[in-house]
């Protein structure tokens, strides 16, 4: 199970978001990630560890390499909750528009 706090902490760092953006284009090894980010290999490895613990990336073993790719599940889980909230609120506020229209009409009548 992915912890939401862990996920958001992982996403709070700009380098880690950039790594996710790079992985959105496809799988990459640590060495392939070191180059564009001008960071040391241990620094990149540390970022990957945080992303992996947050369930945002998945690493597989290929010989001596451990290529990384995006894990869709971690992100989808938060999206599910936000989508639910958005739908419930959008429905509520559409109803509220109608209530407010009635309130304004009544007020208008009272004035005249």
């Amino acid at each position: 199970m992915v912890n939401l706090d862990t996920t958001f902490r992982a996403l709070a760092d700009p380098t880690r978001r950039a790594i996710l953006a790079r992985l959105a284009a496809g799988e990459a090894t640590v060495m392939e990630l070191v180059k564009p980010f001008a960071l040391t290999q241990p620094a990149i490895s540390q970022h990957l560890k945080v992303l992996e613990n947050a369930g945002l990336i998945i690493r597989r073993v290929e010989g001596t390499k451990r290529p990384c790719r995006l894990a869709q599940e971690g992100v989808a889980e938060i999206d599910d909750w936000l989508a639910m909230l958005r739908k419930a609120l959008a429905k509520n506020y559409d109803r509220l528009d109608e209530i407010l229209a009635c309130m304004e009409t009544k007020k208008g009548r009272r004035k005249t």
Partner: protein, 164 residues
């Protein structure tokens, strides 16, 4: 037409904005008068709010009970912290599903916007356990594949496009 925005702020909050074609006074009243709240704060179609206790004063109690008319229901309790008519409401609430979820601190502002009102609501982002409990109730009923993306991922996407 999408007048509502919903986004995460940092790793702890969700901020919702919505414009209304009514005065801040009317929108504020619709958020604080029980007989008005019962008409719109219902979530998905088919749900009603048979019980609505709402004491709009500092320390005042809140209790909303929802029912889907088929034996399913849940309720929310809370307390008012601060009210500034017709501009700001600060309150704390928790869902009972039936176990109480952690306290959600919510601040709602109503600002004049032309001839209407801009509402801004800032709430605590629930933890994973709370989210799962909320998804497990009837609240996800009829959920469509609307796509809400994390701010961070939108930024990541923008960075990708910029570097491409």
């Amino acid at each position: 037409m999408s007048k509502m925005t919903l986004k995460t702020e940092g790793d702890r909050y969700v901020v919702v904005t919505r414009k209304f074609l009514a005065s801040p006074e009317a929108v504020y009243r619709a958020h604080t008068e029980p007989q008005l709240i019962q008409k719109w704060m219902l979530g998905p179609d088919g749900w009603t709010m048979p019980v609505c206790i709402n004491e709009a004063k500092p320390g005042g109690k809140i209790r909303f009970e929802w029912s889907d008319g088929k034996g399913n229901g849940f309720y929310l309790t809370g307390e008012y912290v601060e009210l500034k008519p017709y501009n700001k409401i600060a309150h704390i609430e928790r869902m009972h599903l039936p176990d109480p979820t952690p306290d959600n601190h919510i601040e709602t502002r109503f600002d004049s916007d032309g001839s209407g009102t801009l509402m801004t609501m800032r709430m605590t982002l629930p933890d994973e356990k709370t989210r799962a409990a909320m998804l497990a109730t009837g609240m996800e009923h009829g959920m469509e594949a609307s796509y809400v993306r994390l701010e961070g991922l939108i930024e990541a996407e923008a960075a990708k496009n910029a570097s491409a």
